[in-house]
């Protein structure tokens, strides 16, 4: 189909004509559902409590039934996948890595230079051939991760990306106005700090190793990990000192 033929415009093939017709249908159907929840900010509750399922919900259900009936997917496998993404793969894994790097300088060195084996030490593998790189913040360098072209994200260690990371505002602005983006997240950087933006354009995925906050000198890895936010590992926030500590 047109997708796989770079030189063909949508207008040129009969298949594409059908496809356009289909897209139109899909969009109309999606439109009603999306009106309440597109880009998801604060209106999801309405969506959750809809009495009548949205048309999109029905279309997705219908597709799943079709695939199950045709023997193309195993419904139990889908359930296990949902459980994995909702409950097992998430930013707690990244936080564990960061906390260990803070607590153990030798581990940090391995993490920065031999990331794959450093992850394997914690039982976290690299998947799908994507290679993870860890970039370290300091008093002089602040790293920020984006994927301007789609939604590449270090999901092996952070789980699925939040809506804002996949949104047009973030993808368009992170490269041209990183300081403005950071300010929107409440992160103000000194003028002389280098802002280093990593646009994930290929097979590499980036995890930011944030600065360890003051006041945590004798903390255990578990206590440290609890301080590390997902946002700090994408680079839009810093890890805040614990309350009561002298910053």
């Amino acid at each position: 189909m047109g997708n796989n033929q770079p030189s063909k415009g949508l207008e040129e093939s009969p298949m594409a004509t059908t496809r356009r017709g289909f897209l139109k249908t899909a969009v109309t159907a999606a439109g009603a559902a999306a009106a309440g929840n597109t880009m998801a900010h604060g209106q999801e509750q309405d969506h959750e409590h809809q009495v009548v399922p949205s048309e999109l919900t029905l279309r997705v259900k219908s597709l799943e039934s079709l695939l199950v009936e045709k023997g193309l997917v195993d419904r139990a496998a889908l359930d296990v996948l949902v459980d994995a993404y909702e409950n097992k793969i998430g930013p707690r894994n990244g936080a564990k890595i960061v906390a260990k790097a803070w607590a153990d300088p030798a581990y940090k060195q391995r993490l920065l230079t031999e990331t794959g084996s450093a992850l394997a030490e914690l039982g976290m593998g690299s998947q799908q051939g994507e290679t993870l790189q860890v970039v370290e913040n300091s008093s002089q360098v602040h790293n920020l991760v984006v994927c301007t072209l789609c939604s590449c994200y270090p999901w092996q260690v952070l789980g699925l990306p939040p809506v804002w990371y996949k949104s047009a505002p973030y993808r368009s602005r992170a490269v041209i106005d990183p300081r403005g983006v950071l300010r929107e997240f409440g992160t103000e950087l000194p003028e002389d700090v280098e802002v280093r933006v990593w646009d994930s354009t290929a097979e590499l995925r980036y995890l930011v190793l944030p600065e360890r906050p003051p006041g945590t000198e004798n903390w255990s890895e578990e206590e440290l990990a609890a301080l590390v936010s997902r946002d700090s590992m994408v680079g839009v926030a810093k890890v805040m000192p614990p309350q009561g500590a002298s910053a």
């Binding site: 189909m1 997708n3 033929q5 770079p6 059908t18 289909f22 899909a26 969009v27 999606a30 999306a34 597109t38 880009m39 998801a40 919900t57 279309r59 597709l63 039934s65 079709l66 695939l67 009936e69 045709k70 023997g71 193309l72 997917v73 496998a77 889908l78 359930d79 296990v80 949902v82 994995a84 993404y85 593998g125 690299s126 998947q127 051939g129 290679t131 301007t148 789609c150 809506v163 804002w164 949104s167 047009a168 505002p169 973030y170 368009s172 602005r173 992170a174 490269v175 041209i176 990183p178 300081r179 929107e184 003028e191 280098e194 802002v195 280093r196 354009t201 290929a202 097979e203 590499l204």
Partner: protein, 220 residues
Amino acid sequence: MNGIHDMGGMHGMGPIHHEKNEPVFHAPWEARVYVMHRAMGSWRKWNGHASRHAKEVIPPAEYLRMSYYERWFTALIELMISGGLVTRAEVESGRPAPGSATATPPLTAAEVPAYLTGSSGRPRPTVPAPRFRVGQSVRARNLHPTGHTRLPRYARGRQGTIQRDYGVFEFADTLAHGLGANPQHIYSVRFTARELWGEQARPQDTVYLDLYDDHLEAAS
């Protein structure tokens, strides 16, 4: 392709909405779309690059109006149809075509953990040799392919420095279209923010892109 998905540097997209304590999925259908996409990938009728391109070809106005998982839903249907796994009539009716064969799913529940942590199974290529070396000045080529490319518009024609050689990878731009693995090196290329955005940028700020040999030429 010079599509709406290539949005680095665009203005006018509005403020960033940062939701506190965001759930992984905002509705059950989002989760089902995502995992169906992952599970159907086990048929190996398409790769991740073709999957990205299936979203890039969504017409721009619709791309922007759709939520993220609506794009995935649209792309999944198109990928399954072009991969010969379902027909459009089946998708529209929600029923298998009369007399169609029943398959056996390649991914079972028991296999999911290994599927999630396993590698693609193919060893990384080791040739060819790199065309550029660390420290070398390079220019992103001024290319405007109508198909999939991982060279964003904002970098084209701009000069940068090879910061690191990540080794050999299969080439996304051709793999997306079934045009071969075309293995080559990926480099971390450092561009100054001023080279990309002019005087408005801070002099010390930088943008790092991962670019393939075919995206680059030596800068004089």
